[in-house]
């Protein structure tokens, strides 16, 4: 192949299905503001990619939304809901913010770490779980809490944690 002047387009990394979903988000904003769909687009391609975003995928989103790649990296690195490295099949976000802390989230964190044999921010060797520390997830009334694959579980105890995690594939 003859070399290119510009980096090869990475837009094809976005699947047709993801594209259709991104287009739905884009449609919610005025045409000249399609960059507003960046958060949704990142989530969609993250899902497509098994829960994490590669630089190439972020570049693809940038190209698709006609944004500078760095502006996409800014968004992807700012929010904890994006992962930039491969993750487990299930993402567990444990809240350690003030209300959860006062209600004993440390017990939950310790239990999780011991049970799975990994630290916060790590993934189990069998790629089943990733555990992450989260700031307040706005469920303080049910502290301590965590979120697994987008589902909130409140008033946690170690036993309840076992039950929840064991029920997952």
């Amino acid at each position: 192949m003859t070399a290119q002047t510009s980096p090869v387009s990475s837009i094809d990394l976005i699947s047709p299905d993801s594209r259709a979903r991104i287009d739905d988000s884009i449609a919610k904003y005025p045409p000249e503001r399609k960059q507003a769909a960046v958060m949704a687009a990142l989530l969609i391609v993250q899902e497509q990619n098994g829960g994490w975003l590669s630089t190439e995928l972020m570049d693809a989103v940038a190209e698709y939304l006609e944004m500078p790649p760095i502006a996409v990296y800014e968004v992807a690195t700012f929010y904890t809901l994006y992962d930039l490295e491969p993750v487990g099949r299930h993402k567990v976000y444990v809240c350690t913010n003030i209300a959860c802390m006062l209600c004993g989230c440390q017990v939950i964190v310790d239990h999780l770490q011991k049970k799975l044999g990994i630290e916060l921010g790590e993934t189990t060797a069998d790629r089943k779980f990733t555990i992450k520390e989260a700031e307040c997830l706005a469920a303080c009334g049910g502290a301590p809490m965590f979120m697994v694959d987008g589902v909130y579980y409140e008033n946690l105890t170690p036993a309840k944690v076992d039950e929840i995690l064991d029920s997952l594939e």
């Binding site: 192949m1 070399a3 002047t5 510009s6 500078p68 790649p69 760095i70 690195t77």
Partner: protein, 807 residues
Amino acid sequence: MTTKPQPKTAEPPPSDLIAIEINGRSMQARKGSMVIQVADAAGIYIPRFCYHHKLSIVANCRMCLVEIERAPKPMPACATPVAAGMKVFTHSEAARYSQKAVMEFLLINHPLDCPICDQGGECPLQDLALGYGKDVSRYAENKRVVADLDIGPLIATDMTRCIHCTRCVRFGQEIAGIMELGATGRGEHMEIGTFIERSVSSELSGNVIDLCPVGALTSKPFRFTARAWELISHDAVSPHDCVGSNLNVQVRGRRVMRVLPRENEAINECWLSDRDRYSYEAVNSDERLQVPMIRINDRWTEVDWSTALEFAASGLARVIDQHGADQLGALAAPGSTLEEFYLLQKLMRSLGSGNVDHRLRQVDFSDDDVAPVYPWLGQSIADLENLEAVLLVGSYLRKDQPILGHRVRKAQLQGAQVMAINPVDYDFTYKLAHAVITNPLEMVKSLARVAKALSARKPGILAQKPEWFSALEPNPAERAIAEVLAGKDRSGVLLGNYAASHPQAAVIRVLAELVAEAADATLGQLAEGNGVGGWLGGCVPHRGPAGTAALSGRTTQAMIDEPRRGFVVLGAEPELDCLDGAGARRAMEAAEFVVMLAVFKPSSATTRALEYADVLLPLAPFTETEGTFVNCEGRAQSFANATRPLGEARPGWKILRVLGNHLGQSGFDYVSIDDVRAELDRGQIAPSGRLKHRALAQRLSGERPALARITEVPLYAVDSCVRRAPGLQRTTDNPPPPVRMNARQIEALGLDDAQQVTVRAGEGEATLPLLVDPRVPDGCVWVPGGYPQTFALAPHGATSVIKAAGA
């Protein structure tokens, strides 16, 4: 959060003014302005890091907190609009308390490494820490550390020092027009950078160094070489484009250590192109010619000045004796000073030859007689930003004249429609409203079709050559261009570097004038370097200084086509500075005697000057000579030398003066450069963009070759100085010269798998890497000029490309 920078407007009407008080002083302030702006105008200093008068307001450093009467908490002066009766205190106890508190926070993560930081001594953080910081830090915990990525050869990064003011990020978004730096991560983990390792590619990138209030972004070439307080700053002017950006050339001892912008709102504002900022590296290069040299029997010997000048004078005199003065020719680099241009043509003409030219990259000279006194921008540089419609013809404005590119971008941000008729779909930092991207020949026709589309408004414009236009039918893009140009009150047509070097440049100029006239638009021409000075100094073959009548002679092209027996070359490297490099070499080789005034020693890798030149006279570059550059507005800017010439080098005006004496010419007895200036001064010359009359003599277009070469001289190949500036040479804007074609064209030529190709144009041949470039139109091959690898190729016309043997 982000607000647009305030557009400057004229004096506000009184109804727009309100009365406020700062530190007990009452003053008038424009409604909607921010406290910091009013304070700045009144000379009251409020500390700040993130606020910059050319950038949007984000108020994220909080250093500018002030006390405002009746406000419940301290307010950021940069983001607090004035209100009638507002009382602001910038130095009260409460204000100082807040400012000191912010400083303490800022210093928590800032490494106290001033002794090894290049910013030390000119660091706003260091300065403000002196005024607002504590002498001992209460912070005993670990500081954060940020890993650095390499962002290219011009800017050094130490991101651990960054205080997250985001000036550099906003610069990219708002001024450079390409966002390359950003803020990734958040909270304590936020980092400013490129995220992935890549060189920044903006032609204005160096400005972030000036903007960065700490030592996070510093100049790579200048790094660790000097302290700010050791430097003496000299006012200077840049020779590399027709803008004449104002420079501070900073010198330690006799060495130029760095170049910074000198603020001039009318020209470069507070910005500088990378080319102007880093070209100084070349004046310190080992390649400088420091001693006069002469060649006898093919041996070069270093000699003293009087020997060299005597040798040069007698060689030139011999040519005149044997062949007549008309056999002498002179070529001057477009970056020469006005005084040098003037003296060179005076010398040549007093010897009896009118063969002088500085337009080394022009090939069509057929409108010389009707040309205006000098190529004029058609308006002031500042007025470019008020245009509502701009048509660029043969111009990569962004890269060729970065500062003008910035002005036009400002216009575009305010809603102007920028359009182009170009041979390449150049990468502008905004979307073109309409564009015709086509082969060189078709460009001319396209412009003619725009004229035709406009002829409904002014039928007269076609009157002179109806047969030119009769067969033309404007396409939708051309109609749209015509409509926008005619529909806006303030529109302009700009002819760029490519237009000037086009084989039918004269036709383009006539057509552009017709278009401008019909659309009531300004018409601007962009010359290379100090080209305006070349015209005004009389360094053109058909006119003397300031357009006066003078002994006429041959143009650059004519001197190449009918080689002269003797040449004087001022500051140019003929192979690389002439568009027809191969022709220039042939002419030099055919000459019996060649005198070169050169800043750099010719390198046998790039030119054959060591074989064809007979005398090399060491010439002082722009930092070492006094002189005058006249920019595209017609603004003459005189400057003194920033430092003494290196070695035995001498300012060009002095060399030419003494050469005149040695050749026995009268009128070369100047004592100072002021005498030269007084003599060449013709008073105010009214600028005009218009041709004296329009001669549409030629055919509209010639035969289109199957494959046409597009020759463009990229921004870091334009003159001998930038070609030797190592930082600029390593940027992404200056890759090894490739051959570029679009994929269709590559396929049509059966080159799909080729990495290396052999190009033939004219009598020249070159083997170069092939790149797919969708920006190049069908039927064209883009090969840059100004490089030793490509000069042998004919700049225009039929070209062939085949797979390189063995590749």
